[in-house]
Point group: C2
Chain length 316, copies 2
């Protein structure tokens, strides 16, 4: 199977079509139209087998995670996802694997109506790079840098689930497909609708890909502020606590990435608006702390300081 056959077979049909795609897969580049008064929002994320997922992860989960990581980056800006490009390196062409990969990719792309408009497929050690493109009204994107002293700090959904699964898989364990932690790791749900809804409300936002502590620290540093957070308020899933106990669950929640929840700040005066806005969310935001003017992020657990910040997931 050559590259063209591979593209034709796995990346031509089953993906959403959009009227603003003037030219999609199959030419040297894709052409897509942005409306007036909009800004293009773009990001790129690579998943490498062994580094970001265990080799035994099903192909549809590999595809799902790669696209979800990118959609999550767009969500963290409050952007509408529109298009993506896929660069796929494969050690060999296994039609069964590609079929499953393509199905997983098309499923998530369909859920958010994001069109596959180009990319590249090459022979090499398994890795997936996706570049996602979205848009925001000019000036409306939520940056990391907008948090100010006194803002409340929130996180959506629950944290630590994906890290628990990754830890178990890396240790050689096999997890049941219905294990909620495994599902969070293999098929994370990017918070696209929530990110969009927060666009006019959040003062700063980031997605949690490397760990709640380090990602919140990055948001605060970009905003040139600090923060105080309460470990006991970080939302944990029942499954996570059940599997590892409360103490380890909190550690995983602070240190683990890959859940792709959103962490954001909101002015205190708008806390009621946030409550109203998020009333029907499946991943309700929980307030876990407050922005302070002094630099640095400190954690307390039930009123006592936590000494050392948890280590983050490191790509290097």
């Amino acid at each position: 199977m050559d590259e063209f056959e591979l593209i034709r077979r796995f990346f031509s049909t089953g993906y959403p079509q959009r009227a603003d795609v003037m030219l999609g897969v199959g030419d040297d580049s894709a052409i897509s139209r942005l409306g007036r008064d909009e800004e293009l929002v773009s990001c790129s994320d690579t998943l490498v087998a062994g580094t970001h997922f265990p080799p035994q992860l099903p192909a549809d989960a590999v595809a799902h995670r790669a696209l979800a990581a990118n959609l999550s980056d767009l969500a963290a800006m409050g952007a509408s996802p529109r298009w993506f490009l896929l660069a796929l390196a494969l050690p060999e062409v296994e039609p069964g694997w590609l079929e499953q990969f393509s199905a997983g990719l098309a499923r998530l792309a369909g859920r958010y109506q994001v069109a596959l408009i180009g990319g590249d497929t090459v022979r090499g050690p398994l890795s997936v790079t996706i570049t996602a493109l979205g848009s925001v009204p000019a000036g409306a994107a939520v940056r990391r840098s907008g948090a100010v002293d006194g803002d409340l700090i929130y996180v959506t959904g629950t944290c630590g689930d994906a890290a628990r699964a990754w830890q178990a898989l890396a240790g050689g364990a096999t997890l049941a497909v219905e294990d909620p932690c495994y599902r969070r790791f293999a098929y994370p749900e990017p918070r696209v609708r929530e990110g969009l809804a927060l666009r006019d409300l959040a003062s700063a936002m980031i997605d949690i890909s490397d760990g709640l502590h380090v990602d919140l620290e990055r948001l605060l540093a970009a905003s040139e502020v600090g923060g105080a957070a309460r470990a006991q308020d970080v939302p944990l899933s029942a499954a996570l606590v059940d599997q590892v106990g409360l103490v380890a669950a909190r550690e995983l929640a602070l240190a683990g990435g890959d859940d792709y929840e959103l962490c954001f700040s909101v002015a205190q005066s708008r806390a009621t608006d946030l409550g109203r806005l998020s009333a029907d969310w499946s991943c309700p935001p929980v307030c876990i702390g407050q922005v302070r003017s002094e630099p640095g992020l400190s954690w307390q657990l039930d009123g006592r300081d936590l000494a050392s910040p948890p280590p983050a997931f490191q790509h290097f």
Copy 2:
């Protein structure tokens, strides 16, 4: 060195800045503004060590080739390059290698004023994925599909040089840095200005990344036409002929990719315009054949049919 240090050190300074970049490297996504009445043109190309370049290729050449391949794809649409994202997988952090990589990338980016606006760096087998973004006035992009019966077929510059170097390097040879074939392979010049200039003249266009024969065949197939081409008219460099002789040079010119020349069709009535337009190009276009209504691409050499089409560079 963690990812952030790596980005800060190698991918923050030395790159062109643009006023239409609202937000560049360092947030979840980049934000860039497209003017009114424009279309976004995007493409993505991956280079894997061992598949697309020999491991001993200098880091600045790896970076140059990865960006050049993408700029060439934009050039083949007649697009203005504007921004790019870099996804870099590295087996280990070697500051010396990264320094050189970054220098090569910034040099070529500077030449065409294309801004690095985001990306990802991860640990993994060496590979480089670049996503390039450009723009065209709405509807002005040159597609592969516009060639019609009677159009003349042109190619810019000379063909086969890079393939000669790749062949020698793959065989374990060491080439002198001043070898013109080596330079074509290691530091190919994307035909950005030429592609832009051809936007209102070419009826169809493609860049030669896989081989003149297969890439021209693709252009003709996309246009639902065929063509007759003359092997003796395909431009060859003196260095190539000198190194391998005329017969092998022609084979390399038809089969070899990686030169990133442009192949395009022009209505016969506009041949004079093309001559005027390209009078001062360093890679003047040469007419190598003509579009025919019957499907397929046939080659003649001095009036005799060439039997078998040359094999193409295969990513798989």
